[in-house]
Assembly symmetry: C2
Homo-oligomer: 196 residues x 2
């Protein structure tokens, strides 16, 4: 369950140290100032030059994807856990709440996630993939149970939730507007067939 970078060819020790320093700096600055902090500052905070910064993260989107990887991995595992929960709708709803919290972890991030999901070739889309596949299982199970709107697919669901505004969150970070969305997806369970 290590959450360090991709498996890729191993990096030289100094390169690995720089990679880690940049990622840590990004986490720190994103947490404090939101994701709009300039790349410049991230490089400075990490103590590396621009060349190094862009060697490891060729674009700011790469950095967004990188700081999301751990969270997405946790959500992937969480989906697997919830897959064995009795009530399919409750399982999905729980997961969606977790995803919403996670997507808004840094101010401004969820908008990028939403936008990234729109481009299948984006870094964020790639980073989402394993999580998305597991969440899809939860989604289909909820739809098969009849308790969930059948007209929405996993990509639309993730896009919708991550497009919710950063405002309208309680102290604990949960969104009031998310309740509207979840309620809108919920369906009254149909009674079991009784014709035989």
């Amino acid at each position: 369950m290590s959450t360090t970078p991709p498996a890729e060819p191993r990096l030289r020790v100094d390169a690995q140290r720089n990679y880690d320093a940049v990622l840590a700096a990004a986490h720190r600055l994103f947490a404090e100032h939101g994701i709009d902090v300039p790349m410049d500052e991230i490089g400075r905070e990490a103590g590396v030059g621009k060349g190094t910064l862009y060697r490891h993260f060729p674009t700011k989107d790469h950095l967004y994807a990188a700081v999301s990887l751990e969270r997405f991995a946790r959500l992937r595992d969480r989906a697997d856990e919830l897959a064995s929960q009795a009530d399919p709708w409750d399982a999905l709803a729980s997961w969606v709440r977790d995803f919403d919290l996670s997507a808004h972890h840094y101010r401004g991030l969820s908008g990028r996630v939403s936008e990234g999901l729109g481009r299948e070739d984006s870094e964020v889309s790639r980073a989402c993939l394993p999580m998305r596949a597991r969440a899809d299982v939860l989604l289909r199970r909820a739809q098969d149970s009849g308790e969930m709107d059948p007209n929405i697919d996993i990509k639309a669901l993730l896009t919708l939730v991550s497009s919710l505004p950063d405002s309208y969150r309680d102290g604990d970070g949960s969104s009031n507007l998310l309740d509207v969305v979840l309620n809108g997806l919920h369906r009254a369970p149909s009674p079991p067939p009784t014709h035989g």
Copy 2:
């Protein structure tokens, strides 16, 4: 029902002509390329220098608000019309659909509207105000009827709807995701009181 600029002190003829040219150019370029076209290009298309451009629209947000004014005025009138419709929920839902269509009129615009609503002192907020007051009437009527979630106010409603992603729209421009939101706000009408 004229929809030309604010009432403000009258402009010199050449100034008025430039104002109109900039606004028309903005409409044209926003329609074709979305709202991210550079101010530069808008000025060039309008045939005015940067000084003129920024004299009339001190900030790009001013331009966003200005190109939205007519649409907001129409939505204000539409709310007044719908206020006399029999079913309070249907009236509100109709208006919200119109608002959604309007907010997404130019690619990228609705995100700015959503963001602008978050700052009460923004140009967009100011431009919205009359429309927002009339829509509030529809909202409260729907809530009083019991057919609508009582936990959402007009600002939250507008923010939520305008935060919906630009994607997931049919040919006619209507959003599939909006249906989820509307459904989430809807409540089964409570039966009329029958105790006396």
